[in-house]
């Protein structure tokens, strides 16, 4: 099996050119999302969905970007993508087995198996996967599975002119990312941190295969601060359910015993 692959998206290197969005759509032949002027900075595709598998967020932030400026304004860009979580809610909730983990450690939807039930959608803590209005099936980033099979890197990483999107072996990416954060800290950007780089930092997903370097709170980038894959709660849910069931059973039994006693007593009264 090939080594686990992933993305490290360094938002401090992103110039918001959207080449990743276009390269993704072209390679995967995805339709447009409609032509909607949102008035939200330069973001007119708004969020990830069945036809947008890379999405660049534009954040006009009323805060300075150190050490660039003292002025309380900065413009942040971040190219969002499916996180290919170590514990993937979509995969674990898929009843048909359409969603699998492939040899690159990526979470992959097999379109010929997907029946469009939609369980995966509610089980993704990031709102990544979505059903196509057209055929009802669920679609998301494939980590360019077809390209990886041919020893090509994903289209978005290939198109990125500034190496904001780095693709490679997950372990190497994690090492590089850690070094990058430390370098930024010494360069006067103490706010830089990694989002979802491993299980320790994000237990709710047990770590992301596509993790990020951010400069502000996750919410600023429209990312959840503490994502938890719903299926992670299954065990706890079953335990509480079992406990609940046991409690009910116990109560029932107790009541029966009491009932017997009482009955006995009552029969005595009769």
């Amino acid at each position: 099996m090939a080594a686990t692959k992933g993305f490290f998206t360094d938002t401090t290197l992103c110039i918001g050119c959207k080449a990743c969005e276009v390269a993704c759509k072209q390679w995967n032949q995805l339709p447009d999302d409609g032509f909607l002027f949102t008035g939200m900075s330069y973001d007119n595709t708004v969020h990830l969905g069945s036809s947008t598998w890379r999405h660049v967020a534009f954040i006009e932030r009323p805060a300075p970007l150190h050490p660039q400026s003292e002025e309380a304004f900065s413009w942040l860009f971040s190219s969002d993508v499916c996180k290919h979580c170590a514990r993937a809610g979509c995969l674990e909730s898929c009843p048909t087995g359409a969603i699998i983990r492939n040899e690159f450690g990526a979470v992959y939807v097999q379109p010929d198996v997907c029946n469009g039930c939609g369980y995966c959608i509610v089980n993704c803590p990031f709102g990544v996967i979505n059903r196509s209005e057209d055929d009802g099936r669920a679609w998301k980033c494939t980590l360019c599975y077809d390209r990886l099979k041919e020893d090509l890197i994903p289209a978005c990483a290939k198109a990125c002119p500034t190496e904001s999107i780095q693709f490679g072996d997950l372990e190497t990416l994690r090492t590089n990312a850690q070094a990058r954060v430390e370098k930024l800290h010494t360069q006067g950007m103490p706010d830089a941190y990694l989002y979802g780089e491993d299980a320790a930092s994000q237990p709710g997903t047990e770590g992301l295969h596509a993790f990020f370097l951010l400069l502000d709170k996750p919410e600023v980038y429209n990312l959840p601060p503490d994502p938890v894959v719903p299926t992670k709660k299954v065990k706890a849910a079953w335990i509480s359910m079992a406990a609940g069931a046991a409690a009910i059973a116990a109560a029932a039994l107790t009541s029966v015993f009491f009932d017997r006693g009482n009955g006995h007593d009552r029969s005595h009264l009769l």
Binding site: G16, F35, F37
Partner: protein, 893 residues
Amino acid sequence: MGTSFGRGGATTFPGDLVNSDVIIIQGSNMAECHPVAFRWVMQARERGATIIYVDPRFTRTSAVANIHVPIRAGSDVAFLGGVIHYILENERYFRDYVVQYTNAPAIITSEFKDTEDLEGLFSGWEKKKGEYHKRTWMYEGVDPEAAAGARESKAGKKGEAIQRKPIQAERIDPTLQHPRCVFQILKRHYARYTPEMVEETCGVPKHLFLKVAEALCRNSGRERTGAFVYAVGWTQHSNGVQYIRSAAIIQLLLGNMGRPGGGIMALRGHASIQGSTDIPTLYNLLPGYLPMPHSKHDKDYQTYIKLNQPPSGWWGEFNKYFVSLMKAYFGQAATKANGWCFDYLPTLTGDHSHMNTVTEMADGVVKGYFIMGENPVVGSMNGPLQRKGLRQLEWLVVRDFQLTETADFWREAPEISRGEVKPQDIATEVFFFPAASHTEKNGSFTNTQRLLQWHHKAVEPRGDARSELDFMFKLGQRLKLLYRNEYNRKRNWPIRDLTWDYPVEGPLSEPSAEAVLREINGFTIRDGKTLGGYTELEDDGSTACGCWIYSGCYRGGINQTARRKPYWEQNHIAPEWAWAWPDNRRILYNRASADPQGKPWSERKRLIWWDEAQSKWVGGDTPDFIATRPPSYRPSREARGKETISGDDPFIMQADGKGWIYVPTGLQDGPLPTHYEAQESVVKNPLYGQQCNPERMEWMRKDNPYHQPYNDPRFPYVITTYRLTEHHTAGGMSRWLSWLSELQPEMFCEVSPELASEVGLKNGGWATIRTMRAEIEARVLVTRRMKPLKIKGRTVHQIGLPYHWASKGLVRGDAANELIGFVGDPNVAIQESKVLTGMIVAGRKSKERRFITSGPFYKSLPGREKDRDLPAARRKPTTGHGHKAEQTKEGNV
């Protein structure tokens, strides 16, 4: 660039920006418009370089720059003049470099008067003619005529004679103390460009300006270098050439030219724009910057050579380049006896630049028009006037991917939807040809760094789509066929004798692009051997070469432009990646990377140096110098041509081998950059009585009305136009593509929250923007990226308008260029589109009115009713050219 250094091309390449210690990006939104080249800037930043970005708007470049400086559109010369002042005042210039490699020590004639003496004019202003007589700008003791620079700017404008004595400053003062030496003139010229004046003129706070000036100076000198990056944000002004000249002066003073991490990176707007001037689509040039003959002066071959071949500098070889070009054009027919068919060439009768051609169309002078890969109705100034011109044509040919607004001007236009123009009244016959895209044809791009890069055909073009090469080749064949029975008439001989015999290939029988490139490279007539470079060209008719500066691109019979060895398999200069003109030199004037004795100024910044043992220049790049000329070489008085280039003169294309801080000849509007306001400004020129560039080109016509030069109460806001990453210029390549269209789906305007509240604009709502020419509507994007500026206590608002949309395609909107009038720079006739004034109101109030067809929709102001129909500016001596500037001046006195 041509007048300052000798060649009108970027002096470096984007990959070398990695070596810069400071990069100033001004007049270019590099991250948005050149995102791929911007990777090198990002790498430089990561290596610790300071990235400074000067722009009216906070853009995607600002977002990643170290310092962003918001500036009032159109005030860059004042800002850069302030930097020059700072360098001189604080003695931060690189003295050895300045004394040895620039014309700073040269002494100028005693008759020269500066703008400081004449309220914003230089000596020699002829009010009646509306232009300068440039005699007084010359070096003392030198005949005041011409130089290499003249060739690249307005060649042929007046057929200026090139003198036959070498241009060398006759008197110099290496101590830089003489009151009339260039250095002292420079000091006086910029004496008032203080940080306070910069604040007052540009709206840039003093502390921010000083931060920039200090960062630039700190990162220049022996050990460190800085680069400038610009694009059309500098060129598209009525004094655009002087914007670039300002940067040239700074780079010469700081010693940043010809060195790694230095130079001036001119970013070209799209693929092969550099190529379109090298092998020009310009009316006044032949390939390789040879001037087009002028009907009045260049009577015959001998006269043409006499007038254009200077005795000193590299252009002394002019004859070889010209004769070889004629051999490429006319083959056997071109002989010494017939002056190499000189009289076959068309000759210039005047200024036939774009805006003049359009007005001549509108006036019924020009009858037919070819448009290939352009959408002028959307992409060029004054859309209504463009369409008026098209309506008067007899025929129009458009070649494009899509039926653009230009091709469909007769069916879809604002004046047609208003019923003011009826399609049935338009007699123009329109021919539309579908064009092949770059993946459907072989060929080369000459990109921003003078780099010829070959692209191979991936698929055959679909349907009737064909390449431009195929179209032109077959058009030529048909012309030959049509004229074949009339070859006895002499006027048809150029068509008869034109060599037009390229081999065809492929299923569509297309001409071989490689064969064309081989002809451009040049070959020997006798045995057809490809030439190794332009030094092998001869003036006896034994060589043919389609473009002398490209000679060598097919060296050894190999397509050098198709080489693709990545830089990580060679050095960062990557000489084996494609091929750059001239002679595969990547950093121009690189002789200046070494000191006069030939040693690198510093180890850290070494590039080429003189190797005594090998007796030649060696190093990482191809030397932009005579490879075997030692630093100690000095020419004799009798020397001519390239023999006049001294061993320590790095600027070999210049007549005197020096970088020109001061341009004694070759520019129309002055030897030193001077701050003038744009044709339409919101402020009075804070520096001089002279408001605008006195030499600017104006078109005083009814169909091209102007606002008041400043303080026009009807148009209180500054407008600037630009591109976005998501679309391509006039949209022909992007508005029909869903993946690009969804990213920027509608025309919008960018305004500050302050302006929005002043006018009542709502984010996501609508606005109407008006000028005298037109009114358009746009969606509103309120953003803090637009920042109002404080100018003398007054708030100046700027409105940003991208110009990609129009009435066709997947996504639509009004075209920003409908708003802009014709105004031009006098040196290169480029339009002023980066700054104008206008009005904005909330809501969809546009009735799609256009001045030309709807009549005036603004009341004229007292004293301004008399705008008359006047001939185009090229006949300006008899018109009131520049009259507003004069009025302004009188008003100020």
